[in-house]
Symmetry: D2
Subunit: 178 residues, 4 copies
């Protein structure tokens, strides 16, 4: 399987973190990116609680759980930083959440467009080397998700250090492949 690098995120604001988070920052860790909307019932009842369980079940040194608020409808109702901030506090969600940057033209926010998402919730897994490994619209059951995450966690860090096809690692910066 030819792996592809996950695309960078376009985030207009971050909550629950002092500094913006980039995929480059997270190289070396597995990343669970949960794409949601605060007024999406399936996100509220299933996907976000599952992301919280992941954050609790695994070691933070192995996996980073990140939310991405990708609003593609009801912009006035759920589009503000204040509304999202209140939502996160009421639902006791404490992992970092980025607000997907609004489109300069069109309805869909920028990251949602660049990832080609079908809707919310979408669960995305990115491996230690920054490759996109899973992108699933709708629900995944806990057994399967737990197994997939562990499979990515167990991928050798050494292989990451040696082979990271582009970008920087602990040792230095490789010339990116064309």
């Amino acid at each position: 399987m030819q792996l592809k690098q996950a695309k960078p995120w376009q985030v207009s604001h971050w909550l629950n973190t002092k500094n913006p988070i980039t995929l480059e920052n997270l190289l070396g860790k597995v990343v669970l990116l949960e794409v949601f909307q605060m007024l999406c019932p399936g996100c509220v009842s299933h996907a976000l609680p599952q992301a919280m369980r992941v954050a609790q079940a695994f070691n933070a040194a192995d996996i980073a759980v990140i939310g991405l608020h990708s609003v593609f409808e009801h912009h006035s109702a759920q589009g503000s930083k204040e509304a999202l901030s209140a939502f996160l506090r009421e639902y006791k969600i404490d992992f970092p959440v980025g607000i997907d940057a609004p489109a300069t033209s069109g309805r869909l926010p920028q990251t949602m467009t660049s990832y080609g998402l079908q809707g919310t919730p979408t669960t995305i897994l990115i491996d230690r080397r920054g490759n996109l490994r899973k992108q699933k619209f709708g629900f995944e059951n806990d057994l399967v998700l737990g197994a997939e995450i562990m499979s990515l966690i167990l991928e050798s860090k050494e292989s990451f250090n040696q082979t990271s096809p582009s970008g920087c690692d602990d040792i230095g910066c490789a010339i990116p492949t064309e």
Copy 2:
């Protein structure tokens, strides 16, 4: 037991109904008034689904299910008609919902204050003659709520018909308000 008339509601906007709804309009029916906030997790996961089950289980000729959005925190996030409207659409809530009128002074909206509510969710039952019969903060189980509703439904319409128009009850007749 000395029964008391339920106090009138102060509502700034109504959704899911063309005309404003008053307690007087509803005389003759049992009323379930579900007081909630759209960012209150217990409201979203328990109280509102229960109110929807009530609307489905009972005959609309016997009981009116009404929501009251009483925002006492995160006003900028959940205070607008647009936010609430989007919420109702996403959660497929189709019974009438009033927005509790903001306080002219203080933090709590007006109906929340006049009813002395402790928070959300609060489930309120009003009998066919407009008397306040139950006001419970938190959850009630379905068996008990079903039983209480039926108990109010079975109260004689005759006694309502005789005594209500002129403001009479078992004890006496009050001078009707204009």
Copy 3:
């Protein structure tokens, strides 16, 4: 609606009660009779927990919750008093349970046959005067069941007191069966 008396039960053994229980003993109370089999998954996960909730939600002076173990398959596995007794203890079911008397001929136990049951679970409601008022195969939701029970509880005891002992109802007086 012409009401019919519930037929007597044929029970070979009783558990969780010192004395056998008959419908006549229960005149004056509403009766919830839960017909089940200990190896019926829907009984174990839904109907029996619901019957336990009913026993807890209502006043024992108003309603009697009774189980009837009507075995129509796997007789060697679930047919014995010992097996049922162990089951009741493990599931902490403490209301009285009768074992439906085995058929003298045929596969179905006697009460199951005389009531014309379709299977398990079946929830049966009998009013204060011994009339069969509900017989439902499968599940009933808590709101509806709570409402139905309350409706029967609120039926006048006076009408029972006047008419029951001699087999009278609203329409007339039947000659009591010997």
Copy 4:
């Protein structure tokens, strides 16, 4: 970590399989052994459905899901092959289930004693080389269990072939370590 071989099972009868199953048969696969009793509510509502989800979520070439019916109470009610067979059919459990051999003396069945189990349900994981890797009384959540299973699945089969410290593998039989 010094790993220990899982002890052999003592089984008096097998259901849902034509041939008895031994740990030696299963070398090369991960094994989930679910120890239960048919009248144990936690087994029925949680552990057995979880074992069924495992059997469905993973590849049968990687993991074998096996039940062990270890009766330590209510022997007359749940001790028979017929009772267990009826239970498995009603609950649609189709993985192989062994009946833990009754003790020659004492109350606990033989495998329960040799494994030092605390009760039911107990979830046991055995690796591809026959080592006992997890033995947990009570519940494990799906995320953690999925991760643990995947971790064992990903352990190299080669390492199994080369290093299996005792016993037989595809190639031959090694002299067991003392």
